[in-house]
Subunit: 302 residues, 2 copies
Amino acid sequence: MAILVVGSMAYDTVETPRERRERQLGGAATFFALAAGADAGVRAVAVVGDDFVESDLELLASRGVDLAGVERAVGPSFHWSGRYHDDFIERDTLATELGVFADFAPEVPAAWRASEYLFLANIHPSLQGHVLEMVPKPRLAVLDTMNLWIETTRDDLLAILPRIDVLMVNDSEARLLSGQRSLAAAAAAIKEMGPQRVVIKKGEHGALLFGRDSVLAVPAMILPDVVDPTGAGDSFAGGFMASVAAAGADRDSDDAPFREAMLSGTVTASYVPEAFSVEGLLNRNPDDHAKRLRTLRSMMIP
Amino acid sequence: MAILVVGSMAYDTVETPRERRERQLGGAATFFALAAGADAGVRAVAVVGDDFVESDLELLASRGVDLAGVERAVGPSFHWSGRYHDDFIERDTLATELGVFADFAPEVPAAWRASEYLFLANIHPSLQGHVLEMVPKPRLAVLDTMNLWIETTRDDLLAILPRIDVLMVNDSEARLLSGQRSLAAAAAAIKEMGPQRVVIKKGEHGALLFGRDSVLAVPAMILPDVVDPTGAGDSFAGGFMASVAAAGADRDSDDAPFREAMLSGTVTASYVPEAFSVEGLLNRNPDDHAKRLRTLRSMMIP
């Protein structure tokens, strides 16, 4: 069982109300891969610049991430810079320096084109479409996107939605894509565009699964403290996909493994805000994950 | 089993992105009482002005609300006017005309002073304290408050918190009162101030119960449309209290009846945004309530 992820590997400069960290390891594919964990067999397709620190790649490799699809190009790595507001949720993007990511043309190694699980992290939808041509028949394809693509490349996005199985977006993206204020109406409209299932992430308010036959609302874990929430959404996706893949679920499965995956994604994401960069993900252990899963279930039992 | 509510009966002028309604029936005690339902035996202590429409009082009476504690004073009734933003959540208060409410001195009829359940809706904490002197030993006292009182009459509020059993506030109020950003830390700090249990309302994101021994996160019902959310929070309280009272719970009960009451409050509140004023509450029926409760449970089962 292998999970292919296509997305960014980057450096983030993050300013919170309490602290500022320069050029720490980040990027959607990075968080996703570390979140999915060593057992998930994650294969990463990404591009990094000539400034990308070798020990960061070694860290990923040491955590079981196959980097055969990571191209090292000449030029600077993708660098994102942002400042969080006092609530540690709202944030202003201060700079988006694409660097080598501007010319990213994802190339999936031939041996990976039969990957069973595919996560298309947030990149230009025409690139996501290009990947779907190279990996035409995964058991399950999950796609993330963002307001920028919904607004500026809507047709490209609509063209690929029929070819994916789960759309995973946040609530404002779901509303923007569908033109519907109600999340129930938004999810129904998005399903009409292609995917059988829609996952709506709401940060500290949890996440919703609009499944094939059911709806599940999962609260976020209630954290004692927040240090840096950057990457929590992609880490949710990593935990979600690892769970779905471990269950061997595909698009024709019933909702049960997807409901279970929502809990796993929630617990996985809960480690991210506890520390800067990927530190929270690196420090967790299976016992603590199991303990948080029990806590989450106890918070949900009606 | 009787529930005593002390709070406002008012007229609201509400402007939404779609429509404007002038001087429609509102007020915390009004929503609470109608939400609790005819079987709850709600006793209302409030003040209305000489402009308060008799048929509005008759409506409440016809729904089983005992109005023996409603004083009719000379002058205008409390009038609130507000405008909702495009998200139907954020709102600007355009006018708060207290009218006769400015001199409200709640007087609990002698026969009601042994009421078993007490809901102190959002009024000046010194008035809430005055009520607690008149009704010293309810089985359960629940209190709502707001940012204004937390900021301007903090000492009055802190003086009465040891005498109530459940504080019911929204997330920003919980943070303001406790000085804690984390809702877990906020609830823990509030419990130190007196109440054994804290309910944190989050509107469309649901509600949290920080119980004696457990935490429960209940999502909001996912509504197909929103017309006017005014009164949903007080209606949640009405549904919550009716459920707690029907179970005969008191402060020493375990968390089970309070967890159940969270679901009942959530379903009850879900009727409010579907129509202006109290219309949504008036139009519901037990079969539909039971159906929504099943839907809510199905959304929560981990």
